[in-house]
C-alpha cells in the first residue's frame, strides 16, 4: 500500500500533461488552417529577437510599473518550475526534497532561499496587478471590451497564482517547523520567508505539520496541473506562444507592406505589349489564389493565427491607437481577440463534424465590422506597442484588401480616390499634364 501515493501521482501527472498536450495539438491544428507563410529566413536574427523580446522582456519595460512587476512574476514562474521538477521527482520516486541530495546542502539552501524571495515578488506582482485591474482603474485594463470572460480570466489567473504561492509557503513553513521538532537528514534548505509567515505552526504536533506539508504539496502539484490545462481556455497561453510569435515576427520595417505576387503577374501581363491574353498558363505555373485578402480565418496566414492565440489582451496596442483614443470603434486588441474567437469556433466545428462545415459565418462582418477596419490609419502604433511583436495591423490590412478587391466595398470617397489614382495618376481629380504647374507660379 505504500506505493499508492506514487501511483496516484504518476496517473495524475500523465493525465494532466496528456490533456495539456492535447490542447496544444488542437491549437497547432487550428493554426494550420491558415495560409502557409514563409518566415524561416534570417534565422540568427529571429533567435536574437526571440531571446531579447520573449525571454528578455525588452518591450515590457517600456511601461516600467507593469513591466517590472511582470518580470517578477515571470522570473518567479521560470525558477519555480525547477521546484516543480523536484515535486515530480519526489512524487514519482517517493523521495523528499530530492534536489537537496543532488545539490548539496549549501547550494540547496541558497536555491530554496532564492525561491522564497522570488515567491514573495510573485505575490507582490499579482497583488498589484489585481488592484490595478479591479480597483485602480488603468484604462486599458478596465475597458468595456474586456467585460465578461476576458476580465474574469485575468482575475482567475492572478488568484490561481496567488493561491499557488500560498501553498508553496505553507509547504515550506510546515517542513521547516517539522524539522525543528524532529530534525531529519534530508531536510536541508533555507526558508527565510515561510518560517516567519506561520508562527502558529510552532504549536502544531509533528503529525499535523507533516499532514499540512503533504496537503500543501499535493495542492501545489494539482494546482500546477490545473493551471497548465487552464491555459488553453485563457489569454495566458502567451507564456508559451510568446516564444514562437516573436520568432516568426515580421522583421521588416513597419512601413513595408507586402506586395501580392499574383497581382504583379497580372499587371506585368497587362503592361506587356507582346503578351497573348488568350494564352493558356504555362505548365507548373502557380495559379492565382482563389481570393484576395481575408474574409475568414482560413484566408489569414498562420503567423496571424498564431498571433491571435498569443495575445494576452494587455491592451497596450489599443491604448496607443489613434482611432481608439478618439472614440472610434477600432481596437487592435479586439481584432486579435475576435480572430481567436472565430478560430476557436471553427475549431469546435471541426471537432464536431470531422471537417469544417459551413456555418454561415465569417470573420468579416460577424466578428469584425467594416467600421472598425476603415478607421485604421495604418500608423503602426499598435505593432510598435505590442510586447510580443504581434501584428494586428496586418489582419486589418488583409481584410481591407478583401473588401476592396473582392467586394468593391470601400467607402464611397475611397472609391473616388482610387478611380482618380487609376485615371489621373493622383488621388485628386487633376490633370497629369498639370503636374508641373507649381513651378510656374
Amino acid at each position: 500500500m505504500q506505493y499508492i501515493d506514487n501511483i496516484l501521482f504518476v496517473i495524475l501527472l500523465v493525465a494532466g500533461f496528456g490533456l495539456f498536450a492535447k490542447s496544444l495539438q488542437k491549437i497547432y491544428r487550428n493554426i494550420q488552417l491558415g495560409r502557409a507563410i514563409n518566415r524561416s529566413d534570417r534565422k540568427a536574427e529571429r533567435w536574437e529577437t526571440m531571446a531579447r523580446v520573449a525571454l528578455g522582456q525588452s518591450r515590457m519595460v517600456k511601461r516600467p510599473i507593469s513591466g517590472i512587476l511582470h518580470i517578477f512574476v515571470y522570473v518567479g514562474f521560470v525558477i519555480i518550475n525547477i521546484e516543480v521538477l523536484e515535486i515530480i521527482i519526489d512524487g514519482v520516486f517517493g523521495t523528499h526534497r530530492y534536489l537537496a541530495t543532488l545539490f548539496g546542502s549549501t547550494f540547496y539552501s541558497v536555491f530554496t532561499a532564492i525561491l522564497e524571495v522570488l515567491a514573495v515578488l510573485v505575490v507582490l506582482g499579482v497583488t498589484v496587478f489585481f488592484i490595478r485591474r479591479n480597483f485602480y482603474g488603468v484604462k486599458r485594463l478596465t475597458m468595456k471590451e474586456l467585460f465578461g470572460w476576458p476580465k474574469n480570466d485575468a482575475n482567475w489567473i492572478l488568484i490561481i497564482e496567488f493561491v499557488l504561492m500560498v501553498a508553496f509557503f505553507t509547504m515550506n513553513g510546515a517542513d521547516y517547523y517539522a524539522d525543528q521538532l524532529a530534525p531529519s537528514q534530508h531536510l536541508a534548505g533555507s526558508f527565510p520567508i515561510s518560517r516567519y509567515l506561520f508562527p502558529f505552526f510552532e504549536n502544531f504536533s509533528l503529525e499535523t505539520l507533516h499532514l499540512t506539508e503533504r496537503i500543501a504539496w499535493w495542492f501545489h502539484f494539482i494546482g500546477i496541473l490545473f493551471f497548465a490545462n487552464y491555459l488553453y481556455y485563457s489569454k495566458h497561453l502567451h507564456i508559451i506562444l510568446a516564444f514562437p510569435s516573436t520568432w516568426y515576427a515580421n522583421l521588416d520595417l513597419y512601413g513595408k507592406f507586402n506586395n501580392l505576387d499574383s497581382v504583379t503577374k497580372e499587371i506585368k501581363l497587362m503592361m506587356d505589349p507582346n503578351a497573348d491574353p488568350y494564352a493558356a498558363p504555362a505548365e507548373g505555373v502557380e495559379e492565382a489564389p482563389s481570393k484576395f485578402g481575408a474574409e475568414d480565418v482560413f484566408d489569414l496566414n498562420q503567423v496571424q493565427l498564431l498571433n491571435a492565440y498569443s495575445c494576452t489582451e494587455c491592451g497596450r496596442c489599443t491604448s496607443v491607437c489613434p482611432a481608439n483614443i478618439t472614440g472610434k470603434k477600432l481596437s487592435p486588441r479586439l481584432i486579435l481577440m475576435k480572430t481567436r474567437d472565430r478560430l476557436e469556433e471553427v475549431g469546435r466545428n471541426i471537432d464536431k463534424n470531422g471537417k469544417f462545415e459551413d456555418d454561415g459565418k465569417k470573420l468579416l462582418n460577424d466578428y469584425i465590422t467594416k467600421e472598425e477596419l476603415w478607421a485604421c490609419t495604418t500608423c503602426n502604433a499598435c505593432t510598435q506597442a505590442c510586447p510580443v511583436l504581434l501584428d494586428p495591423l496586418s489582419i486589418i490590412f488583409e481584410m481591407r484588401r478583401f473588401l476592396v478587391m473582392e467586394q468593391s466595398a470601400a467607402p464611397q470617397e475611397l472609391n473616388l480616390m482610387m478611380t482618380n489614382v487609376e485615371n489621373n495618376a493622383a488621388p485628386w481629380q487633376y490633370n497629369q499634364a498639370d503636374r508641373l504647374n507649381w513651378a510656374k507660379d
Binding site: 506585368k268 477600432l330 481591407r400
Partner: protein, 261 residues
C-alpha cells in the same frame, strides 16, 4: 519661381543626369498649401547649387493611398509604371518631401524591380549640412518655441526621428517636445488613405486630439515633415481659432524662411 525647374527629360536631352531626382508627390504637385513646401525645398536646393530634376508630367502617384486602402491592383499599376519611367532614366537617388512617397518608393518598390536610394527631404538636408554645403543659421526663429510632429511614415515606419530635429536645432529655436513624440508619437489622422475620406464616428477627430497636444506646448510654430500632417495640423489649429498665433510649417519652409529665400 525665379529659376527654372528642370525635368529628367531636360537632363536627358542634354545627355546629363542630375545629382538627385526630387519626387514631388501628388500633394506637393497639386495641393496649394503643399506646393509652397515644394517651392521652398527647390529654393534651398537651387540656392546651394544642388543639381536636381523632377519628373514633371511623367510622375504618377506612387500608389500609397490605393495600397493602404486595400487596392493592390491600382497600387501595382502605379508602381510598375513609375518603375518603368525611373529605370528608363537610370535614376539612382530620389529625394521626396512626402513620407508616404518615401516609404513606398523605399520599401515597396524594390520587390517590384525598382531599386533606388530613397531619402526624405529632412535626411537629405541633414546630409547636405554635414557635408558643409548647406549652412543654416537661426535667423528669424532664434529662441522661438517650435514643436515637431513626427510623421508616422517617417518615424515609426522607417525609424527616422533625428534628422528633422537636428535641422530644427540649427534654427536656434527652442524645440519643445509633445508628450507623445518619437516612438510614442500620435498619428495626425491622415495615414492609411484616411486623408481622402471622412473619419469614422468617434468622440473627436484624430487631428484635433493631436493639435490639442501640440498647442499645449504653447508653440509659435508646429513643424511638420509631411504634406498630409501639415494639412491635418493646419485644420486643427483653425479649429481652435489659433491660426493667427500659431503657424504650421514644414521644416523646409522654416529653413527657407530663416535664409530669407
Amino acid at each position: 519661381m525665379d529659376f527654372t525647374i528642370k525635368t529628367m527629360a531636360d537632363y536627358a536631352m542634354e545627355g546629363k543626369s542630375p545629382e538627385v531626382l526630387f519626387w514631388v508627390g501628388c500633394a506637393g504637385s497639386f495641393d496649394d498649401r503643399a506646393k509652397k513646401i515644394t517651392r521652398a525645398f527647390c529654393k534651398i536646393l537651387n540656392n546651394i547649387g544642388v543639381e536636381f530634376a523632377v519628373l514633371g508630367q511623367e510622375e504618377s502617384c506612387t500608389g500609397d493611398p490605393a495600397k493602404r486602402a486595400g487596392n493592390e491592383f491600382v497600387f501595382q499599376m502605379m508602381a510598375l509604371t513609375n518603375i518603368e519611367v525611373l529605370n528608363a532614366y537610370e535614376v539612382k537617388k530620389i529625394v521626396t518631401a512626402c513620407p508616404h512617397c518615401f516609404n513606398t518608393l523605399k520599401n515597396e518598390y524594390p520587390a517590384l524591380g525598382g531599386n533606388y536610394e530613397v531619402i526624405h527631404h529632412t535626411q537629405f538636408l541633414k546630409s547636405l549640412m554635414e557635408e558643409g554645403r548647406l549652412k543654416i543659421e537661426g535667423g528669424k526663429f532664434k529662441g522661438k518655441k517650435i514643436t515637431f510632429h513626427d510623421p508616422c511614415y517617417l518615424g515609426r515606419a522607417n525609424g527616422e526621428y533625428e534628422a528633422p530635429r537636428i535641422l530644427l536645432e540649427k534654427l536656434d529655436a527652442e524645440l519643445v517636445e509633445m508628450k507623445r513624440c518619437k516612438t510614442n508619437g500620435l498619428c495626425c489622422g491622415a495615414g492609411g488613405a484616411q486623408m481622402f475620406k471622412e473619419p469614422e464616428k468617434g468622440n473627436k477627430d484624430v487631428n484635433i486630439e493631436r493639435t490639442e497636444e501640440a498647442l499645449s506646448t504653447e508653440p509659435k510654430v508646429i513643424a511638420t515633415g509631411c504634406p498630409f500632417c501639415n494639412t491635418m495640423m493646419t485644420d486643427g489649429v483653425k479649429h481652435f481659432n489659433k491660426n493667427t498665433e500659431v503657424e504650421v510649417k514644414d521644416i523646409v519652409e522654416l529653413l527657407a524662411e530663416a535664409e530669407d529665400l
